[in-house]
Each structure stands twice: as C-alpha cells, then as structure tokens.
Symmetry: C2
C-alpha cells in the first residue's frame, strides 16, 4: 500500500537522531507518573505506592507478520495493543510504552512514520504515554520490540497461579476469528501471487479481518466485573490460543479442568469460514490464538453476580490436578487438551 505514496525519503537521508526526532516529535506525556519520556538514557516513572507492571513482546517480520497484507499502521497498532493486553490481563492499567525497532533500508522514513502513527493511535485510544525507545538498522526485515509499563494497586493484581479447585472458567468475546482472518489473508495472497490482476475478495469478512488486523483489549469486561465487585481468582490473555492459556492457568495453579466444547463462543462467520476451509471450528477456537480475549476464573459463589453480564461465557470449571486438562466433547467424551497454538521453531505461523 505504501508504493502508492508519492513521497519516499530514504532512511540514509536522515541521521539516527533526526529520525528519532521526527518519529517522536508529536509525543506528549499525559500521565503525572511519566516524569521523563524520550530523550535521555532512560525513562523516569513514578508510581508512588502502587505496583509497577512491565511486559515485553517481540514481533519479527516473516514470523509474526507479513507486510504483503498487513498495513504498517495496523501493525503498529497491534504491536502496542498486544502488550496492553498483557498488563490488562493482570488487572492493571497500561501507562507507558517503550518502542524499539530494527529496520532495513527497504523501509522509507514515511513507512516508519506510518508504523509510528499506528503505535500513537493505540496509545491515544488506551491512554498510554510513549516514553522511549531504540531505533537501529537491520540487515533485512523489520523487528519490533515493545515494552509496556502499567500500574495496579497491590490487592488488585490477578495472577495465573491463584485459581482454586471448583472455580468457574470464563472467556470474554468469541474465539478463533483472528486465526480465520489470518488464513483468509494468506489465501488471498496466494491467489494474488498466481494472478496479480485478480482483486482480493474480502467482502463480508470485516469482522474476521478486523480481529486479525486491529485487535482490541477487553478493558470493558474488567470494568464490568469491578462494577459488581467480582475479582477473578486467576486471569490470562489469549494470545497463543485458549488451549495454551488454560494449560498455563492449570499448570501454575496446580489444577486440572474440564472445558465444554458446546460452551465455546464462536462467531457464526468464524464457524462458516472454518467449514469452508475444512477445519473444525472447535480446533480454531482452541488453538487459533491472537484473540486477545480474557480467560479468567471466578469463585462459584460469584456466579449469581456475574451471570447477567453479557459478552462473557462460562466454558468450564477447575478440578483436581490428577483429573487432567480436558475438553468434554458434544458427545460427552473427555479428550486431553494439548497446546498447539505456538510452535514457531517447527513451522511459521
């Protein structure tokens, strides 16, 4: 999409510091806790008596994204949001972001501005300050490192290892759409490769494509829970797929669980597209990943308070560790859940 732009400034026309000045000139600090942002050896942050949350994610071209179909602005947006998701999944509030990028000469200054505009938009939408970063060159490809700092009161933080036997397992939103969006974009890329005159046929898939290209974090769900005074007993965001995340909660909390196939929330377009691709929608919901929904557990006693909240689904319950981590199929069969969401050393995603 960037080939259509008229202006292309080579990175070599600017020095490192001119480039950083250009990319960071519109950054304004909004939080009192952001004492010092871009422009010194380190950012300075002051949380008084709250606790500081820190998370970091790397995104590598050819592994985590394909620029043939991911616009740079969307990529910047998503790179920021997936890190906000980690802070919010601890029941914290993201406050500051540090962005590190490695770029080759293939990218123009305008391309980087486009990427930065996506980061900025995400920071604006989630009320986060950009406080620093590092910009380096790469031999080839684009490498992104995002660090996000957040805050929380000590007693508000929700960990992964604090679920209890008997707790109910909930998931927000629906699952599998982001993965189907990826498959759809991959298919159109192959079609385009075979016949470059062919126009991509992506009509009717706005929801699915949006889930892949512009994910959002479920801050709203935590606000609703907070409003009814329900604190999850454990929580994690779904980045690698429901199967992988429930295994984390069970392993860390030393428990087993039953997840009911019939309870898995799957959007109708996701299910229809999965069938078109001849994939079981349940597999997509379990292992697709990149949903950025929240997987959380609550005490059974809180069920009455929570049951009228829309946009969340109860999908199972926690059991003794020796009962294993199981999917109870529609027919009632119990199948052990194995993580298949991430295996980047075996195959590209």
């Amino acid at each position: 999409m960037l080939e259509n732009k008229i202006k292309r400034t080579e990175l070599s026309e600017l020095g490192e510091f001119e480039l950083i000045d250009l990319l960071t000139k519109n950054i304004k600090l909004k939080h009192k806790s952001s004492v010092k942002g871009v422009g010194d050896d380190a950012a300075v942050i002051n949380y008084g008596n709250k606790q500081t949350l820190i998370t970091n994610d790397l995104l590598i071209e050819g592994v985590h994204f394909d620029l043939t179909y991911v616009p740079l602005k969307h990529l910047g947006y998503k790179a920021a949001v997936v890190n906000f998701s980690d802070i919010i999944a601890m029941n914290g509030i993201p406050r500051q972001l540090i962005i590190g990028i490695g770029v080759s000469n293939r990218f123009s200054v305008e391309a980087l501005e486009e990427f930065y505009s996506g980061i900025s938009l995400a920071c604006e939408n989630y009320n986060v300050d950009i406080v620093g970063g590092d910009t380096v060159s790469s031999v080839s490809g684009l490498f992104i490192s995002v660090t996000v700092i957040g805050e929380a009161k000590k007693d508000d933080i929700v960990y992964r290892d604090t679920a209890k036997k008997g707790d109910l397992i909930f998931v927000s939103g629906d699952l599998g759409a982001a993965y189907m969006g990826l498959l759809l974009l991959e298919r159109e890329k192959q079609t385009f490769k075979a016949d470059p005159n062919m126009q991509p046929d992506l009509g009717g898939y706005d929801y699915i494509l949006g889930r892949q290209l512009k994910p959002e974090v479920r801050k709203d769900i935590l606000k609703l829970l907070n409003g009814i005074a329900v604190k999850p007993t454990s929580m994690i965001d779904i980045s690698d797929g429901l199967a992988s995340e429930i295994l984390h909660i069970c392993k860390d909390s030393k428990l087993g669980c039953n997840i009911y196939e019939e309870k898995l929330p799957i959007d109708v377009t996701t299910a229809a597209l999965a069938q078109e691709f001849e994939i079981d929608p349940t597999t997509v919901a379990l292992n697709g990943g990149e949903d950025y929904e929240l997987l959380f557990t609550i005490k059974q006693d809180d069920y009455d308070k929570i049951k009228d909240i829309t946009g969340i689904s109860v999908i199972g319950n926690l059991t003794e560790k020796n009962e294993g981590v199981n999917l109870i199929s529609r027919s009632g069969a119990s199948v052990p859940i194995i993580a298949q969401g991430w295996d980047a050393f075996l195959k590209k995603r």
Copy 2:
C-alpha cells in the same frame, strides 16, 4: 567456539514453554521490589516512593555483533551491561531486566543457554533480577531486546539537559579502546577468511579486546562522587562516541562547549594500534563509541573536591550555545565537532 561442544539439542525438540522453563530455571529474585518475575503476563515491581527508570536496547546480528568472533556468553553479558549503563548514567541503580530474543533454527538450545549464562553473569555482577522476557523464532539471525528497570531517589537523578554554562566536562576511564578492539577482530576475521589455517594473532591486546567484548559500567565513579558529595550537573554514557554524546548534552542543555584534544584520555595501546591502522587516535576517541564510560559535567565550584579523584579526566567546559560545539586541537585551532559515531543506515558498523 560452540561447534566444539558435543551436545546439540535442536530448538524444535523443545516447545516454547519448555525452552523458557529451561532458560529461566536458575533465575532467583533478589530484590524486595521484584514482586513477581518470569511466568505471568507481566512482571510486577514495587518501588514505594522511589522513581522508576526504564531503558531498552535492541541488538541485531550482522549490525551490532558478528558471531564469527563474539562468543555468545560475552554477547549476553554485553547486552545486559549496555542497558545497566543507561540506568547508571541517570545516577540510578539497575534492579530488574527483561530479555527478549528472536532466534532461528541455526541456534541450538545449548547456544541459547550460553547466551543466557552471559546475561545471568552480568545480572549477578550488577545485582539485577531477571523478571521476564519473550522468546520467539526468527527467519534468520539473532535479535536481542533488553529492557532494564532501575530505581533512584527523585533528587539523585541526573539528566542530560541540566548542564550550565561554565560547568566543567569530565570523562571517566579512557576512550577509543572498544572501537580498536572491533577493528582488530574484524582484521583477524578477514585474515582467517583468506587463510583458514592461520591462527588469530591477538596477543598483547587483552585490554582492547576486553573493552570490546566485555564492557563494564563505571558504578565505581558514581560511588566516589557520591562519597565527596559531588552531584554531576548532567550525565550520559558513551555508547555512540564522545562526539555524539557531548552533542546530546549541549543540544539538550542549550549550550556550546570546548573540548581540548590534548586532554582526551587515550590508552597507549589504543593509540599505538590506531597508528598501526593509520587512523588518528583523536578520531577514534571522539567517534569510536561503545566505551560505556561516563561523560558528565560539574560546577566549577566542585573542582577542588573532585580534582584528586583518579580515573576521571577534565576535558573541557561548557560555553554559550552560539559559540558552538568545538574541539580545540593541540595547535590551538577550533574545529566544530560533528557526530560520526552512528550512521547505521549508511553503513554497517
């Protein structure tokens, strides 16, 4: 060096989480402020009423390091130390580290363990906790993102933009050795390429090679300054070369300066090797970079207190902005200083 090892476990033999478990199994948290480390969506840190400092650096294979002559353990050590340097250059104390790595199948599990052992050693030496990270695959090459979190009392922090006209400019240690170490390693690599039976001739260059391969941060200098109650008026670490760093201080503090060529601290082996390479030692001291020494300014009134401290050199003074940023040569000529330390989009370092 790793080819000699007997054991090679392919990354594909382990899943992501097994790999993370393996690499992080020896991590022990030492700081009370490290509330939660590796193993949740985010690290949790609590600084009470101190300020939090955060810095991030990216290191990319083929740009920032060459594995033909940099042992992975040294690389890990350096990747950590260069970030500690950023915290210490703010007069803060590094406390936590988050490590993100992108690796291709070219690397074995043992190679990553070697890299991690360097990170761990640096963290042990500088009393820093490893609290999290991200491990992803790359299409080719090794990508490293290090985030370091530190603390400081509000009034202790030293920024870049707070120097005053008339302040004296100091530098710790000596300059240019790390760059000559790089040139030496590059030369031996070329010799080896031309004749693989040739053994590298690196005798007598221990100091210079150590400066390139295993840099340390000048915590000792800050301790000395603290002991005599001298607080720098501004400070920065020398990563991109003295020229680049003094330009930062002058630009940010809205001042000019005179740096005296004859005052630049250059080790004799650095000067001798520069002459062998037919490079002006002054150029190496100004633009070589990766010294990780401290460049700082002090009030003239503090000169009497500081003048007996060994291991630091006064190299110039700050002037009005309109006088420019100048090098006063041995002959007395004034030459504008231009940053040449970093231009990665034009050439590889």
